[in-house]
Amino acid sequence: MPSLPLLLSQAFNGLALGSMLALVSSGLTIILGTLGVLNFAHGALFMLGAYAAYVTLQGSDSFLLALLVGSVFMLLVGVLMERILVRLFYSRPPEDQILVTFGAGIVLVEAVRAIFGGNSQRVPVPSWGEGITQLGFLIYPTYRLELIGIITVTLGVLWVVLYRTSIGLVVRAGIEDAGMVGILGINVRRAFLLVFAIGVVAAGFAGMLYAPIVSVTPDMGGSFLVESFVVIVIGGLGSFPGAVLGGLIAGEIISITSAFDSAYSEVMLYAVMALLLVVRPQGLFGTEGRV
């Protein structure tokens, strides 16, 4: 049985990882819920965000600037990807959508590998995140604490946009019935473009934030892609609250399990997903048969 301080620190690690997964998965899930497209390039976009931060930080010391430049870059990538490729696939079967986004992911990963090489790159922890913080019961890296805060705010902003603005209303109406929204004279296509771009920025933003904690490589997105699939299966496909809660659950499962036996941390995540598929296949927040 692991000691209490170890469990506590693992619970905190789970919170950090879980909030990260929540952010990545919420991007995935709003694209899926609105456009009906499962974006297999999502992991590659996460990776692209990390590289955007890396490149900006080569010329500047400001992490905030890196976040800003990176976000604009990701927005551009999202818009281009939707306009050039994804748009052609809205009326095609889901298997085709999966294949094309998957292919786009390969192209992104390999393009980055061609430019930056396959070696891992270091992104420094921002100056305002250095050191450790004394929490009383636990000593914890400052940046990870800030990470949790930044992601909470980001998710909050996303929630406000989706649930408290007229754009969000169109988007949520589009989830229910895109055809009907179109008949009402609202430009659904533009809403789709916006949602796709927001989803891409969410993935990229998570990548930027995560870059100082891990080594940045072209393949870093792969495991996040699969984990965020698990998250949205747990939370319910297309559900924003489901992605957030599912992300936290997944993060805690991985971290708490590794306090007992790190060999089983990932395995346990998939085991929980399998169990949930048996007892509640629509996920925590999903409705039966929506996607």
């Binding site: 999966i98 094309v100 786009a104 192209v107 590998r113 496909l237 395995v267 996607v291």
Partner: protein, 615 residues
């Protein structure tokens, strides 16, 4: 069509025999060819799953790795001496794992299926990597897998690396291809195609879709297991990346590039992938770019050339015959002269007799207080009626009266909120459409539900196979057209709905009236005792209406018919009894004469119902 054409098998034998004498001159090695065939073997199973059944799995690495590591572990630890037995056990282990994962995965479709298989693939990867690393060597894999031998003791022939190993792989691949092609062209394979084309209709006809999907999943896992085992044998080493996500992904890419649904396409894709990797890597400038190039090719193929290389070749090769069929369909599809109206009584081949022989006097179908509520909306509210055997019963009512919902409840396509349906006295409510279809009730839909990419004959075969074979059967080694009774049924149904001239025409090029007739033909070809026709005349030309009316009357001689229709002339002409629905409720029932005289019915159709509304 009686015998399966063996041309592809012969072509493959020739190609496999020539390869080792040609390939080395174009940048290939024995090792490369062996790996291509190994990936190809993996791809055969995957194509049966994706190309035939329409299930896109991103988790085949789980079974590839399982087969490989079970076989390798048994051999390396000297649990088993024979490579052949180890390969067999590895394959079985992969199949069992496939059964477990498939059981969870096949309940979900499309996006869900892809995600779940991907996640289980990753789970297997992590299992191999850490908890089981004592057995699998973790990141190091298992070195020292022995080469197979033929015979025993000192006289045994050792299959050494190089050419002998190539022949071994060629033999396995050939066997795998022959079996896969038999499966693809078996009745079982026909049902898999049906599931891909139109899952809902396949289930409604009486095929147990989840079981077929699971069977296809297990078959794919068995192929993957064997290929995994052979990978270890080829390399004398079982690499851990057999379990990696990249393995599953590479398989998907290879199959799409080579051509989905062509069986051999996956092998062609593997040859391209592996050849490019081996040869481009030698060139300094582009060495690192080979995967980027492949990625771009892949995206372009998915976007504009969905058929892939082999699919495109097949498409172009069959263009002539297809164009002829389309031209013929357009030339005389829409209307035909009234003189062609045949004498239905002189039908050349009768449909096979219904399977159920119920006690005479028992009603064929009874609806008892059927109700369906959607939230507060009462689509159908307490409707009861009885249909005697071999009679024609009609259900009429204004738009939105609940007729289609009622019909869906009659075969349990939609579960009623209250009430029940009895078919020959047996309660069928709650069974689901697949089981009720097996019990002898079929429906032609208001909106066509056809298998659009298949021919008329194949459409009817899917239907005719259902009740003659039962809801699920793994008859993977017989020809799809080898069941004489089914073939007779197809001919009879085709003659009945007058589509003989379109037998080999793909359904999507048929004229609308022809599609309507095929819709009825599919329901008929299942050999139902009770046939429900939901607006059979909708969208037909006046001439077609006359001949379809004659057709319906003819069908009504041997089986029980229920019709929903707006063509009142046809209804009053055909039906023995009529039930009238209004606003989801039973309004009246009687003979056509009684209904015509009924004041409430007249009011309902003219709009002034309120005074006569029954309490």
């Amino acid at each position: 069509m009686r015998r399966l054409a063996l041309l592809p098998e012969l072509a493959l034998i020739v190609a496999l025999a020539i390869m080792p004498f040609v390939f080395p001159y174009v940048g290939g090695s024995y090792d490369l060819m062996e790996r291509v065939l190994d990936w190809g073997l993996l791809g055969l199973g995957f194509d049966l799953l994706f190309g035939w059944t329409g299930l896109l799995s991103f988790g085949q690495a789980a079974f590839f790795g399982t087969g490989g590591f079970v076989a390798a572990w048994l051999l390396v630890n000297h649990v088993i001496g024979s490579v052949w037995i180890a390969l067999f056990l590895g394959t079985v282990a992969a199949g069992l794992f496939g059964l477990l994962v498939g059981y969870l995965a096949v309940r979900r479709i499309g996006i869900y299926f892809a995600m779940i298989t991907l996640a289980f693939g990753q789970m297997a990867y992590f299992l191999e990597n850490s908890p089981l690393s004592a057995y699998t060597g973790g990141e190091n894999g298992l070195p020292g897998v022995p080469v197979p031998t033929i015979g025993f003791g000192d006289s045994a022939y050792v299959i050494a690396t190089g050419l002998p190993m190539y022949w071994l792989l060629a033999a396995f691949f050939l066997a795998g291809f022959i079996v896969a092609r038999r499966i693809a062209h078996s009745p079982f394979g026909v049902v898999l195609r049906a599931i891909k084309e139109n899952t809902a209709r396949a289930a409604m006809i009486g095929h147990a879709v989840p079981q077929y999907k699971l069977a296809a999943f297990v078959i794919a896992a068995l192929y993957a297991g064997l290929a995994g085992g052979l990978l270890g044998v080829i390399q004398s080493y079982m690499p851990p990346d057999a379990f990696a996500l990249d393995t599953s992904a590479q398989l998907v890419v290879q199959t799409v590039i080579g051509g989905v649904g062509t069986l051999i396409g996956s092998t062609v894709g593997a040859a391209i992938w592996l050849w490019l990797r081996d040869n481009l890597q030698m060139i300094p400038q582009v060495g690192a770019l080979w995967k980027l190039i492949l990625g771009v090719i892949f995206v372009v193929l998915v976007t504009v050339l969905r058929r892939g290389i082999c699919g495109e070749i097949r498409y172009r090769a069959t263009r002539g015959t297809r164009a002829a069929a389309e031209a013929a369909a357009q030339a005389d599809g829409a209307t035909r002269p009234a003189t062609e109206l045949r004498d239905v009584r002189a039908m050349p081949m009768p449909l096979t007799a219904p399977l159920i022989h119920a006690a005479p006097g028992l009603p064929a179908l009874r609806a008892i207080d059927l109700a369906k509520h959607y939230g507060g909306i009462r689509a159908v509210d307490g409707v009861s009626f009885e249909v005697p055997q071999n009679s024609i019963h009609a259900v009429i009512g204004p738009n939105g009266a609940g007729k289609s919902t009622l019909f869906k409840m009659l075969l349990d396509e939609v579960h009623p909120t209250a009430g029940e349906v009895r078919l020959f006295g047996q309660r069928i409510t709650g069974m689901g459409a697949t089981r009720t279809a097996q019990l002898g009730i079929a429906k032609s839909n208001q909106l066509n539900q056809l298998f659009m990419e298949l021919t008329v004959r194949e459409n009817l075969r899917i239907a005719a196979l259902a009740r003659r074979r039962g809801s699920f059967r793994v008859d993977i080694l017989r020809g799809a057209d080898s069941i004489a009774e089914v073939e007779r049924q197809i001919e009879a149904a085709m003659t009945t709905v007058e589509l003989n001239e379109r037998a080999e025409t793909p359904v999507h090029v048929l004229a609308y009236g022809e599609k309507r007739r095929l819709e009825i033909g599919i329901a008929l070809a299942t050999g139902p005792n009770v046939l429900l026709l939901d607006e059979p005349l909708a969208g037909m030309s006046p001439t077609e209406r006359i001949s379809t009316r004659a057709l319906i009357r003819e069908i009504g001689r041997s089986r029980t018919l229920l019709i929903v229709e707006h063509d009142m002339d046809a209804i009053f002409d055909l039906a023995e009894r009529i039930t009238v629905l209004y606003d989801g409720r039973w309004l009246a029932e009687g003979t056509p004469e009684e209904i015509q005289r009924n004041q409430a019915v007249q009011d309902a159709y003219l709009g002034g119902l309120h005074e006569h509304e029954p309490a």
